[in-house]
Point group: C5
Amino acid sequence: MRNKKIIKPKISTKKGKPPGSLIYMGPRKDVPITIDYIQYNSEKYSEKRLKKFSESTELQSEDYITWIDIKGLHDLALIEKIGKVANIHSLTLEDLLNVNQRPKVDFYDEYIFIVVQILKFDKETSVIESEQLSIIINEKSVITFLEGNSTIFDTLKSRMEKTVGKVRNGSADYLAYSILDLVIDDYYEVVEKIGERIEEVEEQLIIQAKKLAIRDIYEIKRELIDLKKTVSPIREIITKLEKSDSPFINEKTRLYLRDLYDHAIQIIDTIEQYRDLTSGLADMYLSSVSNKMNEIIKVLTILSSVFIPLTFIVGVYGMNFKNMPELEWHYGYYISLVFMLIISILMLLYFKWRKWL
Amino acid sequence: MRNKKIIKPKISTKKGKPPGSLIYMGPRKDVPITIDYIQYNSEKYSEKRLKKFSESTELQSEDYITWIDIKGLHDLALIEKIGKVANIHSLTLEDLLNVNQRPKVDFYDEYIFIVVQILKFDKETSVIESEQLSIIINEKSVITFLEGNSTIFDTLKSRMEKTVGKVRNGSADYLAYSILDLVIDDYYEVVEKIGERIEEVEEQLIIQAKKLAIRDIYEIKRELIDLKKTVSPIREIITKLEKSDSPFINEKTRLYLRDLYDHAIQIIDTIEQYRDLTSGLADMYLSSVSNKMNEIIKVLTILSSVFIPLTFIVGVYGMNFKNMPELEWHYGYYISLVFMLIISILMLLYFKWRKWL
Amino acid sequence: MRNKKIIKPKISTKKGKPPGSLIYMGPRKDVPITIDYIQYNSEKYSEKRLKKFSESTELQSEDYITWIDIKGLHDLALIEKIGKVANIHSLTLEDLLNVNQRPKVDFYDEYIFIVVQILKFDKETSVIESEQLSIIINEKSVITFLEGNSTIFDTLKSRMEKTVGKVRNGSADYLAYSILDLVIDDYYEVVEKIGERIEEVEEQLIIQAKKLAIRDIYEIKRELIDLKKTVSPIREIITKLEKSDSPFINEKTRLYLRDLYDHAIQIIDTIEQYRDLTSGLADMYLSSVSNKMNEIIKVLTILSSVFIPLTFIVGVYGMNFKNMPELEWHYGYYISLVFMLIISILMLLYFKWRKWL
Amino acid sequence: MRNKKIIKPKISTKKGKPPGSLIYMGPRKDVPITIDYIQYNSEKYSEKRLKKFSESTELQSEDYITWIDIKGLHDLALIEKIGKVANIHSLTLEDLLNVNQRPKVDFYDEYIFIVVQILKFDKETSVIESEQLSIIINEKSVITFLEGNSTIFDTLKSRMEKTVGKVRNGSADYLAYSILDLVIDDYYEVVEKIGERIEEVEEQLIIQAKKLAIRDIYEIKRELIDLKKTVSPIREIITKLEKSDSPFINEKTRLYLRDLYDHAIQIIDTIEQYRDLTSGLADMYLSSVSNKMNEIIKVLTILSSVFIPLTFIVGVYGMNFKNMPELEWHYGYYISLVFMLIISILMLLYFKWRKWL
Amino acid sequence: MRNKKIIKPKISTKKGKPPGSLIYMGPRKDVPITIDYIQYNSEKYSEKRLKKFSESTELQSEDYITWIDIKGLHDLALIEKIGKVANIHSLTLEDLLNVNQRPKVDFYDEYIFIVVQILKFDKETSVIESEQLSIIINEKSVITFLEGNSTIFDTLKSRMEKTVGKVRNGSADYLAYSILDLVIDDYYEVVEKIGERIEEVEEQLIIQAKKLAIRDIYEIKRELIDLKKTVSPIREIITKLEKSDSPFINEKTRLYLRDLYDHAIQIIDTIEQYRDLTSGLADMYLSSVSNKMNEIIKVLTILSSVFIPLTFIVGVYGMNFKNMPELEWHYGYYISLVFMLIISILMLLYFKWRKWL
């Protein structure tokens, strides 16, 4: 996630260009561009893949809700043509091409523009990947621009095709709400994965003091920082949508947006909670490292303390002075051994008393 | 508490389903479902356990306040039937089935919907358990949905049966207030238990430096984080209830809600205070670990420092050089012993002067 | 302070009772209950101790301001009787009996209810003690309920008796202001005591590194946390009083309340400042511990480093090999001594160069 | 700074006195009291030192702006007389005598009362000294009360005398603004001095690891805490002045107050910035201490590790067993030396491989 | 960056001067002063370098937008003359000369005054340099004052000359917006550079534990603190511009300002994120230092622990007692060696069991 987006917002490559000029700045230039054209109402659902986007494509059918689902952003000519047909402001086009966009909503007289980041936990590489999703809401149509080839819409589309549910009976803004609901469901999944990793690290710290835990903790912390930056503007977006007096948001949909708002708050709360837990884990890790060092130093100290005086004594009787009466004693050797035994016992008793053993 | 709810919000299992579809996502599928049907006014109190919920069940009696107390959420057919009879929005049903719901209040034209988490300190396992409680307030009825088989209502019910107090004379919203008061009383108990554990850890740190204190501190910290997430939305809920212009909240009840608000604030304040104390304890623990290490290293240093030079000296007189005049001296051995004694006394005096002894 | 109040809010002992029921939950059941009945105006001041509170006690004399000063809360019958005579709401009575009450003000149509905690620094035991004070303000009367037998009012009463000052000429709300002023003066004293303790710890850390300083710092931190919880709601109380449109607050008194507000802010600022200082002290303490350990380890290292190679050398010449030519040399012993001297000088020069000496 | 003011707010010495009674609580009872009486307009400037303040002193001349500059506060009779002549409220008098006053502004019908703390960096003692300055603004006059004998006004007075600038052409509130501007200029100087000390400590930490740096850091931290408490209320004061509808603030002056506000914000920002830097320095210090200890321990470990096995070997050949064939070998001694050399080289290679050398 | 501006706000050199007096306080007195006079509309673009600024210079042409681009601030006479011609308030002139100005916007009846800091990452010295830019917006003209000789405007000018884009068709406020857009683009570049440095430090910490990492971390932290102080007021400036009812801001430009606002927020978010990451890095560094010390101490302990008992044993048999039977045994030497081998194996097994190996 961070490698692509957050650490390096490559906006500076646009330097020297006038504001409002269209440049695709993302890395995904190899994604095949697809345009899916969907029309539905409560009675009919049709989906076709367009070869090319012609200027006569119907965007505001009275009878249907039209959803144009575009994947891949690197064909500037296409984007410009869509912009022209759908009457999209150049600033909006610029924003949807800038794949490091902070999530936001903009209200224009002609449409509502929402840009968010969708997240995906890649099970194989254990990496969180992000992709920019832009949504343009009109009275009778929704246009979505996905940066890459995410399959996030697949379940929604097949559900819409198979069953006549709320979406099929709903208006364009309800479709937009359903899409945002998918996005937030993916956030839940990502948060859950991080929760699992926190539990793993917790277990590692309690059962065995794994050496690299701090790196794991830092990784988690970093992902939470990234995640917060991605998720927290969502709250504001939904609030603005709910409170707006835009004609494109129906009264009925506001109730669902309020529900979505609760979900967003819950995710943000959980991220905050995880950050607190993570810093607690770091403390616990540092303390376990400290304790271990303590333990080792204690062993060293006890061993040294017992043997250093003894080694001195044997050194004394290893001296080569001519006149050392003890050396001549018949039981001198044994007396010295007993003496050293007594000393070591006294030392150990002292350590016992100091609670070091 | 956390194992069930907070670390793993299992909402992602709902993925692929349309928003608003009813799925029970909690673990308590084995709780027997019970429906208690209570009707009361200042003159009468009746309580019966319903075998099944029929569509003709009276919900809005003019003469009585009706309280339907449902325990267990895993029978979706039942929940849907109640929803239909009581005219409950599908989003509300979805929320009450989602047992990881963030506490909140929603105002509908037909009812007020409150969802909170009740907490229980299990004395045997020393674990804080949570259960979701949903309350639907109508003009003449209250419906409560409990996730599990908590006995939280028992004292309230027996009090209502035995004595004609404020609840029996009150309206439906006063019953709801009494239920929230029970919930907050349980929070007090949980906070008190954590306060006792903080005192225990404090004592451990002051009297004896227990090795695993940091894990206890982390546990407490974690419980406080969980607790805060559960309790802090309560403040907002009560404020919204008090300030709302909903016809289901009587003027008289607002006074009591204000009182409840004070209680909620006090609990939140105490949680904050405990978090501060806990971080202070962690500092004190780390410092006591440091001090102990210091102590041990000091002993090692003093012993080594005294004996290392002496061991060198005895080593010198253990050398086998042919020509070492001292070895021939008659009192050489005794002189060397005295010399070493003087050196060790000087070392100890130096340590005394450095304040290490 | 904390032992009584903050760590253990014993509200859970009320569990199972209906909200609004009267129970005294404090520890001070042995305080003798006294009722002082004071009437004054600019011309007259009378004070008498009532044997019992009769229902005919005059509370709203037109000519005098009446102050009823009640100490001790454990006689529930008395409290209830006063409540009935003075027309006090049951929630208010509950609050004034609950001695763990968070400081607050409630405005009723019939009176203003203020509850605060008075603090006292006990010079003998060095402990901060708290006692709950409830004030009920009416048009022509003030009723105060003290939990214990504090003498906080003594100077005020004797001043009122002796001199005809602002209080004697003022209204009931000015008396209440004067009482709050006394309470805040006591806070100043307590804050000052903590300031003195911070200075003591500072001195200990700078002059001598006292071993148990961290416990003192933790104690101070804990008292500041408790203090903040007690003092910070005062700000809100005074603001509410000043801004309220209650008929019991005269325009003239608002000016004095604003002054009181400044004092409260100053105390809260000082508490914040002390908390910052305290965390700075903890850092300094940890650093001084670190430094000391550093110092000790340095001595150990230098001594070991100098003697370990020398001890090796004398060991070499203590070996019993038949063929060791050096041992036969006439000046072998002296040469070895000089050699060792050179080595130790080189070692010391190296340490000097490393800035360890 | 802190010694006088912040650690010990000696307000408790006022205990037992009624609120609003006049007591001077500062330490500067030995400052000679001076009263300078200045009158000016765009044509004339006169300044005289009054022997005594008579009740007939003209305060509201129509033709001139009158500035009464009083230094020293310990003559209560004088303060009371001024209060009476200038119609100053007793609460104001109390505040200006209480030299630990939190900076604030109070609007009365008759005047505006401002109290601030002026700061002075004493170059000789390197101590920041504070003095309380109270300003009373009227339509045609300004009265200033300085606690001590600061010379802060000298440059302003001489400039006013010499040149007919904005102050001479301005109203009384412009004079007050000019005085506040002087005060804030002094804050800049103090902040700059602290900035220099931070740079010094930084340099000490980078070039040489000075042992007492943590104490310096703590001193700086403490001064920043004190400074913040003194400076941050200024922002509020200026905002209140600018937004007030008091007749004593002219429209033209508001523009200058806005400028002053920018300066205050800049100082507060810088203080925050310095606090962040200071905590960064503390981290760096602790890390440098850690690193040094690490370094020392490494040397000890390497030396011990190399020599301990060698010392064991020479010990083995120092044993006095009868039957030790190696001792008889002709080259036994040399073989043992080579063997020990090989062992020590292997040890050093191992340390090299572990990156310890 | 900091050396020039933030650590030493040299405003105190102005001390003793009246407020509003013009003094240049920056270090760049050697920058050659240039005045570029640009006039453009959608049809024409002309740029000429003025030798001197005469009072007859046309500032408010009806047909053209006039942009006067002044570089270098140390010629006070010039600044004053411009101020007089363009009708600029003396406070504004003072602010634009004070090169340590906090970024801000001021609305006057005659013009809008904006002051910001432009940042430049110097690739050769790796230092972030700042320069003050003041912008005065009028109905038909923009005057910019640059402190130094930055080339920030070059691309804008050449683009304006070559192509008739939005700027050429726009009003004076659109030119000002384009300039602010350039400034914020430079911030992106600086933030990106810091991001790269954070990545470098991260890599250093993970791959090799570089000794001086903490200094790098402190440097980054410091730059982020400085950066935040420079960038965060921008948000407020843009909000004020967007919300203002100044006649100099056209409705059309507000849309672009909103876009600029999003960019500013994104930069501020990234700075916050980097600060969090940086503190995480510091923790990781300290932990890696701790771990390394742990590692070293472990090796020391194991070696000492194994050899200290052995050395004692060989010492015993090096004693010179007459009567030591073991010494006479034929296999005594070998037995002792085997005995010592067993002891060392036992020690190692013990360490294995303690998980130290």
